[in-house]
């Protein structure tokens, strides 16, 4: 039982209970709020691992392929990527090292997890698709699209959600009523349905445009949260103080209340973003999202779901990338929530307890 330690099974623990505050206070002495949060976040091991992994992943994904500025067919200039193939190239289908009758199998070797004789990427680490396109390049392109969509949806939803929530919560009255009816209005339709309707009609206009439209419908949950936060924060003394000092509404909203609500916003945005990547892939899977010739992770899975029994790699890799991205974002969000939550306390390590006991005995002696 987690609580038993606090009821006092042994006296050492009991003494410690009063000292917990002392330990934590000592740790945060002389630090600003931002520094405390940063410190808490850095200590969240899973979140740090996720952050590092995610940054690396983004770097790899976005540098792998050529960047063509201008018209893609006839680019004004090209920033070369580190990978040999583009996602539109169709090299010859290789049969080398494949089981009988199967073309374009993955060449990746990674002892002991995948295959088994050494560590190498080979010519086509993730294999090739039906017409010989390099699957690694396709997955990279798909991941680029998915991450782009995720960030655009996140950005738009955060902006609209925060502004709507802030206005509704701060001004209350009819502003609140109108804005919240607008929220009800959008929230009534499951987001996958709005997404499908939009995606079917505008999916061919490119991933960024699709993300823009999806973002316009994804802010409702966030705005409700922000509104709730504003409703309670606006009654606090520091807001009265600011008002007495003659601050304008805009100043109170942006300088006084918003920084206090930032924790709630950031946390819910990370959840929103991991939801966004799943939404985009689901829409592309249904055929209402990114459409060919462009590539998305959901589209790849949709195209090759029937190939699972013969060429499972066509199915595995895009899925693993979706999971990796979403998982990282979720863990980063978890770390942020812990960091922003003032009630959150890490578990005391043995060393902390020893220090505390020492302190205790010293003070008793004195």
């Amino acid at each position: 039982m987690a609580r038993k330690s606090n009821i006092g099974l042994n006296t050492g623990e009991e003494l410690l209970d009063g000292n917990e505050n002392a330990i934590f206070n000592k740790e945060t002495e002389g630090l600003s709020q931002g520094q405390i949060i940063l410190k808490r976040f850095v200590r969240h091991r899973a979140a740090m691992v996720a952050l590092v992994f995610f940054t690396t992943l983004v770097a790899i994904v976005y540098t792998a392929l050529d960047w063509r500025i201008g018209d893609p067919r006839n680019p004004r200039f090209t920033i070369p990527g580190w990978w040999n193939y583009g996602f539109e190239d169709t090299p010859e289908l290789l049969t080398e090292g494949c089981p009988e009758g199967i073309l374009g199998c993955p060449t990746i070797d990674f002892v002991p997890f995948v295959d088994g004789d050494g560590v190498q990427l080979g010519q086509h680490p993730f294999g090739q698709d039906n017409i010989g396109r390099d699957y690694f390049a396709l997955v990279m392109r798909g991941a680029q699209r998915s991450i782009l969509v995720m960030f655009i949806i996140g950005l738009i939803a955060t902006t609209i959600g925060t502004i709507v929530g802030a206005l509704a919560g701060f001004f209350r009255g009819w502003t609140d009523a109108v804005l919240m009816r607008l929220v009800d209005f959008i929230i009534t339709i499951p987001v996958i349905i709005i997404g499908s309707v939009i995606g079917f009609h505008f999916g061919n206009k490119g991933a960024a445009f699709l993300a823009l439209l999806l973002g316009l419908f994804s802010w409702t949950g966030l705005s409700r949260l922000v509104r709730g936060e504003f409703l309670s924060l606006r009654e606090r003394e520091f807001v009265d103080a600011a008002r007495v000092a003659g601050a304008t509404n805009r100043r109170i909203i942006f300088k006084h209340i918003l920084p206090n609500a930032i924790g709630v916003i950031i946390v819910s945005v990370t959840l929103l973003m991991s939801g966004a990547i799943l939404l985009e892939t689901a829409l592309s899977f249904l055929g209402f999202g990114v459409t060919s010739p462009d590539v998305s992770l959901g589209l790849l899975i949709s195209n090759y779901q029937d190939a699972f029994t013969t060429r499972p790699w066509l199915f595995w890799y895009p899925g693993l990338f979706i999971i990796a991205i979403a998982l990282c974002v979720n863990f980063i969000g978890d770390g942020l929530r812990d960091a922003f939550d003032p009630r959150q306390r890490r578990r005391l390590s043995k060393k902390d307890k020893e220090n505390a006991r020492e302190m205790q005995s010293r003070s008793e002696m004195a």
């Binding site: 039982m1 987690a2 609580r3 009821i7 899973a46 009816r181 009800d184 209005f185 959008i186 929230i187 009534t188 339709i189 499951p190 987001v191 996958i192 349905i193 709005i194 499908s196 309707v197 939009i198 079917f200 009609h201 505008f202 991991s274 799943l278 892939t281 689901a282 899977f285 249904l286 209402f288 959901g298 899975i301 949709s302 779901q305 699972f308 029994t309 199915f315 899925g319 979706i322 999971i323 991205i325 979403a326 998982l327 979720n330 863990f331 978890d334 578990r347």
Partner: protein, 514 residues
């Protein structure tokens, strides 16, 4: 309260009006059903375009067409609603009435399973905060959060359905699989019960041995080819269930509760024999109902005989036990149909289906075989839907319980000297359930969204498939019908959540403080 509900229902109508107007117009403006015809090479192209224009009234602007559609829908209030016709000249309402039960079946079962499993795991995880079990549950929940459902669905098709069907050819479990499964089970239970190292080892080895023996017996007897439970196994299981539920609800110290629990288990298992007659009768549905009524009668009787005071909680406990026993009897009945089912030509020893919501039978089959067929078709989609939605319950119930455990009234309860079980089950768990009910209701909406994808992957003909069809074939009436149904469901779910909240927590007054 009534005024509040009326006001909310009024708002519901307004919101539905607004959102349907919006969706109708955005779909109407952005689609061009004539596009296909314009580029066609048919000789009577002009005529076809004219016909379609007249049929869909494309000569009118979209907002006007919306109001024509709305006039039909508003017929609801005078008793003759007209949702229009689909492009194939079927009334939209018949299409929806046909598809709705299929989606509801899927969503309902998945929600129930997700709630029970999710809350159970979440609460265990909270009670073992900062243990390895807690950390692995957190990771597991995040993993589930990040899984795309369509991807999981394809994996399930391969690794559950096809592999299980292959396994059924021999129906023998290999030694490594037995050891692997038992190790996993051992770790799981040892992590849940935790404690000193000796205790953990003891639990681990106990579970490991029991599990291995159990699996070996199943393998040796080829149980999966001819699964049965029979009255003996049901009796043993019933006794276990009675003990377990009594332990959780009123505690084993309460001797009369234990006695009445055992009475219900024994008598309930004896009901197995009359139940067979009821379930085999010409009207199995009535039989099923009668069986459950009889079982609940047994539960009431058992509680009344053995207890003089404080019967309420004990009646509840016993009713839960007998309902589970009833479910076991039903499962046993389904198992009896297993052999004839897998031997039939349509199935041919590949029972777990990956596609469709039921087998189209060429000839009339008995009720229980048909039921088994439906159950087996439901397995994969239900697992897929459950997996993605129960992560939320794990996280939420864990968080809420931890919050509740920090409250003053929990400290008071402990200070009064109540047992840990009473504190957790009566004081903490019940208060945890209040916020959980609200996400339960709203979660149904998101599960419906998940069902749209699931139906697509598994080839079910439900609301999701209807929706897909409507979009792809530019069928505005059908699309609006589906959306209207789903959004009404969503708003009602929200309303119910708010009302439930105030019923469960008297401190919250709905409609107050306007």
């Amino acid at each position: 309260m009534i005024a509040y509900v009326v006001r909310r229902l009024g708002a519901l109508v307004m919101i539905l009006f607004g959102s349907s107007f919006f969706v109708y117009n955005i779909s109407a403006i952005s689609t061009d059903p004539l596009e296909e015809l314009r580029t066609s090479t048919a000789p009577n192209k002009e005529q076809l375009i004219l016909n379609l224009t007249r049929e869909l009234r494309l000569d009118l602007p979209a907002p006007i067409r919306y109001f024509i559609w709305l006039r039909g829908v508003l017929g609801v209030f005078v008793g003759r609603a007209d949702f229009g016709q689909t492009r194939e000249n079927q009334p939209v309402i018949t299409e929806i009435v046909g598809a709705l039960p299929i989606t509801v079946r899927l969503v309902f079962v998945a929600t129930i399973v997700a709630i029970i499993l999710g809350i159970g795991l979440g609460i265990t995880s909270a009670l073992r905060q900062y243990s390895r079990f807690d950390y692995s549950m957190t990771f597991f929940a995040f993993l589930l959060y990040s899984l795309p459902i369509f991807w999981v669905a394809v994996l399930l098709k391969q690794f559950l359905a096809i592999d299980f069907n292959d396994f059924l050819i021999s129906a023998q479990i290999s030694l490594p699989s037995i050891i692997f499964a038992s190790t996993i089970a051992g770790f799981f239970w040892a992590a849940i019960f935790s404690g000193t190292r000796k205790r953990v080892l003891l639990i681990f080895s106990g579970v490991f041995v029991v599990n291995s023996v159990f699996l070996s017996i199943i393998s040796a007897t080829k149980w999966f080819l001819n699964p049965t439970m029979g009255p003996i196994v049901i009796l043993l299981a019933a006794i276990g269930i009675a003990f377990g539920i009594t332990y959780l609800s009123v505690g084993l110290e309460n001797k009369s509760a234990v006695k009445s629990g055992l009475f219900c288990a024994v008598v309930g298992s004896i009901m197995y024999f009359p139940a067979q007659i009821l379930l085999d009768s010409n009207r199995p549905r009535v039989g099923l109902l009668l069986m459950f009524i009889l079982l609940i009668g047994v539960a009431l009787l058992g509680s009344v005989i053995f207890n003089r005071i404080d019967r309420g909680p004990i009646i509840r406990t016993n009713v839960i036990s007998v309902v589970i026993i009833g479910l076991l009897i039903v499962i046993d009945k389904l198992m009896q149909s297993w052999r004839p089912y897998i031997e039939s030509d349509d199935i041919n020893f590949r029972p777990i289906s990956t596609f469709g919501q039921s087998t189209a039978w060429l000839f009339e089959v008995p009720f229980w075989v048909r039921s088994l067929d439906i159950v087996l078709h439901m397995i994969l989609p239900t697992i897929a839907l459950t997996l993605i939605s129960f992560a939320g319950y794990i996280r939420f119930s864990r968080g809420t319980l931890l919050e509740v455990l920090n409250q003053d009234y929990i400290r008071t309860a402990r200070a009064k000297g109540l047992t840990e079980r009473t504190v957790i089950m009566r004081h903490a768990f019940r208060n945890t359930m209040i916020p959980i009910t609200t996400i339960m209701v709203t979660d149904i909406v998101s599960i419906v969204g998940g069902a749209i994808i699931t139906e697509q992957v598994f080839g079910w003909y439900g609301m999701g498939t209807l929706f897909n069809k409507a979009i792809v074939s530019f069928d505005l009436n059908l699309l609006m019908g589906v959306i209207l149904f789903l959004s009404t469901l969503a708003i009602l779910a929200n309303l119910i959540a708010d009302l439930l909240y105030s019923v469960l927590d008297p401190r919250i007054r709905v409609g107050a403080g306007k």
